[in-house]
């Protein structure tokens, strides 16, 4: 139940707030990918892929970009499988835990998250700009948006920890 609420809150934040940030055309944070990053590790791989596709399509609908987020989410999910296979997650798997800073420790979580977030932003900005590609613009947008998203993820993790530990 808690998890459903968490999903709804994060998607709503993305749709109502972060899709409409207008203080710079370089900052387009995609906070909702935190849902995919923290997906529980015990889920079977094809379920993970389907969830990624579904969430990507929802994201696409709200910003009217057919397929871009869906494609990026799929790739993110497969990259996550690759990254997680190098960590020892048997305990988390057995206890059906989500993948977050609390269950796997801050260093592993940070390492995985930074790679995934940068990958995701680079991926969508490259595809969005395919018609008239501008390396500097894509690079800057990726750098700034990713940094902003990482800050937000840190904040969300911090808040949800404090609430849970009470």
């Amino acid at each position: 139940m808690n998890r459903v609420l968490y999903w709804i809150v994060l998607i709503a934040l993305q749709v109502f707030v972060f899709n409409h940030l207008e203080f710079s055309s370089y900052i387009m944070p995609q906070l909702f990918i935190l849902l995919l990053i923290t997906l529980p590790v015990h889920l079977s791989k094809h379920v993970q892929v389907l969830i990624a596709f579904g969430l990507g399509l929802i994201a696409d609908f709200f910003v009217a970009t057919p397929g871009i987020h869906a494609s990026a989410c799929l790739s993110l999910m497969v990259l996550r499988m690759g990254l997680l296979s190098r960590l020892d997650l048997k305990e988390q798997e057995a206890n059906k835990l989500a993948f977050n800073a609390r269950t796997v420790g801050i260093p592993s979580f940070m390492y995985t998250t930074i790679i995934l977030v940068f990958f995701y932003h680079l991926y969508i900005f490259i595809i969005e700009n395919l018609g008239a590609f501008n390396v500097l613009h894509v690079f800057l947008t990726t750098l700034l948006s990713s940094s902003f998203t990482l800050l937000l993820i840190g904040f969300v993790q911090y808040v949800s920890f404090n609430r849970l530990s009470e």
């Binding site: 749709v15 990507g56 009217a64 700009n129």
Partner: protein, 274 residues
């Protein structure tokens, strides 16, 4: 057979990944600008209400500035036209031409979704075919040219923004038409460039670029932008020209759709290939 099934079962996620990725690829790359607009519309059915809620909220934050802008615009319109030239009619302004017969009318609309960061930007307005809006009508803001309508549903329309690599406008500078192209190069949401302006033309930085008479979509004289950089390269016969768009697309909120009442009548007497 057993091994094949086992292989499929083992790699089901990868097979799914490839299949879904192909679906995405189809969605992204095989849709042209119009089909993308169609997607935007099916998406609209679900999400436009959400986007409208956001707009309703953010409206308040921007009200003061937008009001000033509207007042300024109304003031200049009144100053430029004798009192009989403007009739206020059911939230549609009619601008009369010299024969006292309305040629262009404008439908005010509000932008409920807008992008500036892609190569092909579009925005969605809250007026549609019920308000008389059709495909290929011109859209202007109070500051200048904004775009062309791509597709309409009953209540909403998708507009191709000037910041779209598919958009081509014929510029007119100081009343002279130049048969060159005004294009967006996806570098900044404030600037565009003009390709093929001959160095022999008498143009200086700061010149106003407007719409001309070669289009039935817009009245002539709607500002597009001002020339911000004019560089003559030594080994070319053309200027390297950049212009700053009149419309600030990052704060685009209120626009007007232009309906040319005489379009069909004029097209009927043009040669067939025009």
């Amino acid at each position: 057979m057993q091994r094949l099934l086992a292989f499929i079962e083992h790699n089901l996620h990868l097979i799914l990944f490839v299949v879904l990725q192909v679906v995405c690829g189809f969605l992204i790359f095989s849709l042209n600008a119009f089909q993308q607009a169609a997607f935007t519309h099916s998406a609209n059915a679900v999400t436009s209400s959400v986007n409208e809620v956001v707009t309703n909220v953010t409206d308040y934050l921007d009200l003061r500035y937008q009001n000033k802008e509207l007042q300024y615009q109304l003031a200049t319109q009144f100053a430029n036209s004798s009192s009989g030239n403007m009739v206020y009619l059911n939230d549609t302004f009619k601008v009369k031409d010299t024969l006292n017969k309305p040629m262009f009318s404008m439908v005010p609309a509000q932008v409920i979704y807008n992008t500036v960061h892609r190569a092909d930007n579009v925005f969605v307005i809250n007026k549609g075919s019920l308000d008389g809006i059709k495909k290929n009508m011109g859209v202007i803001s109070s500051q200048g040219l904004a775009g062309i309508v791509l597709k309409t549903s009953s209540k909403y329309s998708t507009v191709m923004s000037l910041l779209n690599t598919n958009m081509k406008v014929i510029p007119s500078i100081k009343g002279k038409e130049y048969f060159t192209e005004l294009v967006w190069d996806n570098e900044s949401p404030y600037y565009m460039k003009i390709i093929g302006l001959n160095k022999l033309e008498e143009i200086i930085e700061g010149d106003l670029i407007t719409t001309g008479r070669s289009s039935l979509l817009f009245p002539s004289g709607i500002p597009i932008g001002t020339i911000s950089k004019l560089k003559s390269k030594p080994n070319s016969q053309y200027f390297e020209t950049r212009l700053k768009t009149s419309t600030d697309f990052r704060s685009l909120e209120y626009v007007f759709v232009i309906i040319n009442q005489e379009k069909e009548a004029i097209e009927a007497i043009l040669p067939a290939n025009e």
